[in-house]
């Protein structure tokens, strides 16, 4: 009798638990999973928003995608940003975290605040600041001409290679402090005595960095890697506001191109755009999976 009553009490509690988590769960189902299913269905269709019909052949949008030079270029650009920017940024972030984790260092809080500060500004804002700084008549040009490196003002954003470099520099500026915060949190979990012991054993800074910091931060590094991949593959604000994809679409990212094809420039090419976005989804998933597999090998 008593036992039975207790069971129903537990069941009651379990039901209450479900009640708490159901609003959030349903919202995610409606705003993430259901649209994802719809996106896949839409990617097999053609026509504009109101009347869409099945593509002929059914994977036509996917075939078209790999013949679309501009899309392939946007994929290339996005991967270029990923391959160059992410490693530089993460190594810089770990290095800064390591330096700031030194007990003898003074003004630690001030340095940390400075490096972290770029996170306080929106992506649109910093894109516009960098656009202005690197403009043909911008400050960077003025400085470079005045100290004699350049003969005359250079159109950084009007040249494909330099425009990409500006995007990469801007990204490093904005996100290094963000990643450093993760590493600082990770380093706090490492006993300081480990470092002291290494110092007594005669290990120099470089050795402790690669021998202690990096291995112990491995889980954090993998996580920041996955987050950076995820973020970089979805780059949009910078491409739109810093270079507007230009010159002549030389710096356009995947998200920017997808937006232009669907809601941006009056061409409601929903089927094709969702096919491309499904491609982004698959790439994000594959890269994250590889990352976790690589990180899993314990040796």
């Amino acid at each position: 009798m008593n036992n039975k009553k207790r069971m129903t009490l537990l069941q009651k509690q379990s039901a209450a638990g479900w009640g708490f988590l159901i609003p959030g769960t349903i919202l995610i189902a409606i705003t993430a999973f259901w649209p994802m299913i719809q996106a896949f269905i839409m990617s097999l269709q053609t026509g504009s928003s109101a009347n869409m019909t099945w593509s002929e052949p059914i994977f036509n949008n996917y075939i078209r995608m790999f013949q679309d030079k501009l899309f392939l270029r946007s994929v290339g650009n996005t991967f270029l940003y990923l391959i160059i920017q992410v490693p530089i940024m993460l190594i810089l972030a770990i290095l800064l975290a390591q330096l700031l984790n030194n007990r003898d260092l003074k003004f630690k809080g001030l340095f940390r605040t400075c490096v972290f500060l770029p996170c306080a500004i929106s992506l649109v804002s910093y894109s516009l600041i960098f656009k202005s700084l690197f403009a043909t008549e911008g400050l960077i040009n003025t400085i470079l001409v005045n100290i004699g490196i350049f003969q005359e003002n250079y159109n950084f954003l009007g040249n494909a290679a330099s425009a990409k470099a500006v995007i990469i520099i801007a990204l490093i500026w904005r996100w290094t402090g963000y990643n450093m915060v993760f590493y600082l949190a990770g380093l706090q979990n490492i006993e300081y005595s480990v470092y002291e012991a290494a110092k007594i054993d005669g290990a120099n800074g470089w050795k402790t960095f690669w021998g202690i910091t990096v291995p112990l931060l491995k889980p954090t590094i993998i996580m920041t890697f996955i987050m950076s991949i995820n973020g970089t593959l979805q780059l949009y604000d910078e491409s739109v506001n810093l270079t507007n994809g230009g010159p002549a679409n030389a710096t356009i990212t995947m998200s920017h191109y997808i937006y232009n094809n669907s809601l941006g420039q009056g061409v409601a090419n929903f089927g094709y755009a969702t096919a491309m976005s499904f491609f982004v989804f698959i790439v994000v998933g594959i890269l994250a999976l590889i990352n976790m597999k690589v990180g899993d090998t314990r040796d």
Binding site: M36, L99, L123, N146, Y178, F182, S255, L263, V280, A288
Partner: protein, 276 residues
């Protein structure tokens, strides 16, 4: 004596570190300084490379509000960000509470499935969501803006993870005292999780304020636009008035910068969120 000597030697060895950190700090802070100084100068002076603050701020401000609905955009941004923060904290903390403190096999499976949503890129869901919300007549509304961001796997995970410190024994005691499950949530859980709420609030407010792609999709009416949309428009013309543009950028950045300086610790905790 020797200790003192030792200390000064340590500091001397740290000189390259200090130099490196000063350079990085300068590079991090300089664009902010430049933004503020450019907002106080005439466009032509900014283009000439003037980096000391000038006396043109008021004129830039007047030019800015003359052709742009600055207060409207500021109001919208505040409204959207505050509503999103309040609702997201409520829904996600409830879910985190439920997932962790009532956890069983079924709930753990549901949670794992939810985490998969973290891998879904925004560009993939934006078109179906746009169609869904336009059928529901929610374009250009605060609800359309916040709907995809009220419940996020990140925040749920953050609350779930931090709930581990919540003492389960006191829940049993509270039940004996006659509190029901919901009372346990808002009388015990909410006050005890203040730090997590603060961190979650900061990160959600920042994200909502800074959002750009989704607002561009859902807010097609100029009267509904947000600050990032407004400043993006300032720069889209053929010629740019740098003084005016940076005045706009400054207005867009001040609220988040205040949040940053006042609640830096909570912001850092919000970023690292569920990672413990």
């Amino acid at each position: 004596m020797t200790e003192k000597k030792n200390k000064s030697m340590i500091q001397r060895r740290l000189i390259p570190t200090y130099i490196f950190l000063i350079i990085v700090s300068f590079l991090s802070v300089f664009p902010f300084y430049w933004m503020i100084s450019a907002a106080t100068n005439e466009s032509i002076d900014v283009a000439r490379g003037k980096i000391v603050p000038g006396s043109y701020a008021l004129q830039n401000f007047q030019n800015l509000i003359q052709n742009n609905n600055l207060w409207g955009a500021m109001g919208n941004s505040f409204l959207y960000a505050v509503v999103q923060t309040v609702l997201a904290l409520l829904i996600c903390s409830l879910a985190g509470f439920g997932f962790e403190l009532y956890h069983d096999k079924g709930k753990d499976i549901v949670f794992t499935v939810l985490l998969l949503a973290m891998m879904i890129p925004q560009v993939a869901t934006m078109i179906p969501l746009f169609r869904m919300l336009s059928t529901l007549k929610l374009l250009n509304s605060v609800w359309g803006f916040i709907l995809p961001s009220i419940s996020t796997p990140f925040l749920i995970m953050m609350f779930r993870q931090n709930s581990r410190n919540f003492p389960i024994d006191t829940m049993e005691a509270a039940r004996i005292d006659g509190l029901n499950e919901f009372q346990i949530f808002y009388r015990m859980y909410m006050p005890m999780m203040k730090a997590t709420y603060a961190a979650a609030a900061v990160i959600t407010f920042m994200n909502a304020w800074n959002a750009y792609l989704w607002p561009r999709v859902i807010l097609t009416n100029p009267d509904a636009q947000t600050m990032p949309m407004l400043i993006a428009n300032l720069a889209s013309g053929y010629t740019t008035d740098y003084g005016l543009l940076m005045m706009g950028v400054l207005f867009c950045s001040v609220p988040t910068m205040i949040v940053f300086f006042v609640l830096q610790k909570q912001f850092a905790e919000g970023i690292t969120g569920a990672v413990k």
